[in-house]
């Protein structure tokens, strides 16, 4: 089914911002969780769900940390020319970001957007968004795109997973949209007690409509979703993550074994350039 294979964008010089992005706010939204709103018209204009930006997380003339950090675009305001990133302060780069004042003005070097996008469902599809951790970021932008682009309100179910209730970050934003929100926590502190993919599998089984599934989460969640999707033949796209150096297809550092067509051979394909969104049938089993 070629229509479900995500397409790589053709990179053009115009698609890449040449100016730094200006911080609007850098808000702490939960324990260790932040939303960074940046202003740069080009990135805000052209970014689509699934795409990511590469942020320099060091002072202007410093090269330590050396590599940029990739973040999925979480939300955009095309009129105001702003875009949002959702991140957790877990390493050197993200801790540097967390130290940016939560007030307007700081300039941040950002390249992008890079990568491909989720492909649109049909009007008949019952849409499932399955996310965990910061993986909910591209799903949120995708939900907003779907709600904005459809004449009839699409049927969207969000399945969000986290270890605990406190880690269910971004759920309030989803709840303000017109969609069904279901949550799963590992410790049972909110919603379904167990894995988000188990929750999804149960809900999907009861659904009588043709499904269309979009997922993004930690590697373990992605792998579990891939296995369910392949076993039950759900048309599914998964936004994968991988360690990256460049983010635009040059270094071949971020490859994963990925097929070019269902049932085909595996090739080391770049998650930044051919991805990060792939049809679940193309992904290699067992990568966690």
């Amino acid at each position: 089914m070629s229509s479900s294979t995500p397409q790589s964008p053709t990179p053009t010089p115009q698609s890449h911002a040449t100016r730094p992005s200006r911080v609007v706010f850098n808000r702490r939204v939960g324990p260790g969780w932040y939303t960074l709103r940046l202003e740069e018209a080009t990135i805000a204009q052209v970014s689509r769900a699934g795409q990511f930006v590469q942020v320099k997380t060091a002072d202007r003339s410093s090269f330590d940390p050396l590599l940029r950090r990739p973040f999925s675009v979480y939300d955009v305001d095309r009129e105001r020319g702003t875009y949002d990133l959702l991140y957790t302060a877990v390493g050197r780069g993200t801790r540097w970001l967390a130290d940016i004042p939560d007030s307007p003005g700081t300039m941040v070097e950002v390249e992008g957007p890079f990568g491909n996008t989720f492909t649109a469902p049909t009007d008949r599809d019952s849409i499932y968004l399955v996310g965990g951790g910061v993986g909910v970021a591209p799903l949120y932008l995708f939900a907003r795109e779907l709600l904005a682009s459809r004449s009839a309100l699409p049927r969207i179910t969000l399945c969000m997973g986290a270890r605990t209730r406190e880690q269910l970050q971004g759920i309030d934003e989803f709840r303000r949209l017109s969609l069904r929100c279901e949550v799963a926590t590992d410790d049972g502190s909110e919603g379904f007690h167990g894995r988000v993919t188990q929750l999804f599998a149960t809900l999907a089984e009861r659904d009588r409509e043709p499904l269309r599934v979009y997922g993004c989460g930690p590697q373990g969640m992605n792998e579990s979703l891939r296995a369910i999707a392949v076993e039950r033949s759900y048309p599914t796209e998964i936004c994968v993550e991988s360690l990256m150096a460049c983010g635009f297809g040059v270094c071949f550092g971020c490859v994963l074994p990925i097929r070019k067509k269902p049932g085909g051979d595996f090739y080391n394909r770049r998650t930044c350039y051919e991805g990060p969104v792939f049809d679940a049938r193309l992904l290699h089993p067992g990568i966690e």
Partner: protein
């Protein structure tokens, strides 16, 4: 008789203060892309016109396609990064039919980097490239730390280096760059061997072999266990090797290793490099080359020089050290 080199070189403005001679090549400026950090130009075209470069060096091509090394392949280190890509590439046939045709249209010198498992493979590839228009030079990768056979095996042995370069010299008419490894006790014998074999240019250096460990998981951070260190962390090491080789060899040297800005470029030139390659800088700042070129023009003007090459090898080491008497 015009040599193939002159035919392949785009015209350079003689008056340009950045115009650079690199052995038989005349380059627009001394900035080259380093192999493996510019692909074959296609993806980088989103950021920068390959024509602004003095030359571009493509990612290593082997005779047959290679899948490369297991993941994870990259890992950040202090002011640097380790990579264990393992020379993933489409192979010579696909390169010639799918990539070289586009590269021929770049308004710059195209250097094709090749890697082989054996001397025969290097020779076969060089013979093939000799017949292809649009190949400004070849660079012999005899220095990759990430492959089981070939690559660095040659570059750590002066005799093997000389033999390999000589056999390639016999079948390739254009300029030959030999890209050497720093993973040797003494780079001078290898550099001299490449020169004796007939190399036109020495590319110094490839990455330093290193590793990174996640002690909590008791695992290496790279799928290939070890990898090649690059970035600003290696610049002082690279400068020393360029300096040593430039004093021992007559052929020009292209300095490589952690170059991020114009000062870095000028340091390498003063230490003895005629030109430089930028690698890891592209990952961090894909538009570094046009930015650095502007700064270099300014620096040449500020120093009152006619041409940037006036700086090559101008390092002064004649100052007598101050010795202190005492029981220290």
């Amino acid at each position: 008789m015009t040599t193939p080199t002159e035919v392949h070189s785009p015209p350079t403005e003689r008056q340009s203060p950045l115009a650079t001679r690199l052995g038989p090549l005349r380059l627009r400026n001394p900035l080259l892309s380093a192999s493996g950090c510019f692909g074959y130009g296609e993806e980088m075209g989103a950021f920068v016109d390959p024509g602004v470069y003095g030359a571009i060096v493509g990612k290593s091509i082997s005779r047959l396609p290679r899948n490369g090394n297991p993941i994870p392949r990259v890992c950040e280190t202090a002011s640097g990064m380790l990579n264990s890509i393992g020379l993933q590439n489409p192979g010579m046939d696909a390169f010639i039919s799918n990539y070289l045709p586009r590269m021929r249209h770049y308004d710059t010198v195209v250097v094709v980097n090749i890697v082989g498992d054996s001397i025969d493979e290097y020779v076969q590839m060089a013979e093939r490239l000799d017949r292809e228009p649009g190949v400004g030079a070849i660079e012999l990768n005899i220095s990759c730390p990430n492959c089981a056979v070939g690559g660095m095996e040659f570059g750590i042995d002066p005799q093997a280096t000389e033999t390999l370069v000589r056999k390639v010299r016999d079948c390739f008419r254009g300029p030959i760059f030999a890209k050497l490894t720093p993973n040797v006790t003494d780079i001078v014998p290898v550099a001299k061997a490449a020169e004796a074999g007939g190399a036109d240019v020495l590319s110094l250096i490839n990455t330093f072999v290193g590793m990174s460990v996640d002690w909590r998981k008791r695992r290496p951070r790279l799928g290939g266990v070890t990898g090649g260190l690059s970035g600003p962390a290696i610049k002082p090491l690279a400068l020393r090797l360029v300096w040593l080789a430039s004093r021992a060899c007559r052929i020009p040297i292209v300095g490589i290793g952690g170059i991020m800005n114009a000062d870095d470029v000028l340091e390498f030139l003063v230490a003895g490099a005629s030109a430089v390659q930028l690698g890891t800088a592209h990952f961090v700042e894909p538009r570094s080359v046009p930015r650095i070129l502007e700064a270099l023009e300014q620096a040449v003007q500020d120093e009152g020089l006619d041409n940037i090459s006036d700086l090559v090898g101008t390092l002064k080491t004649d100052k007598k050290p101050i010795t202190i008497q005492g029981d220290g």
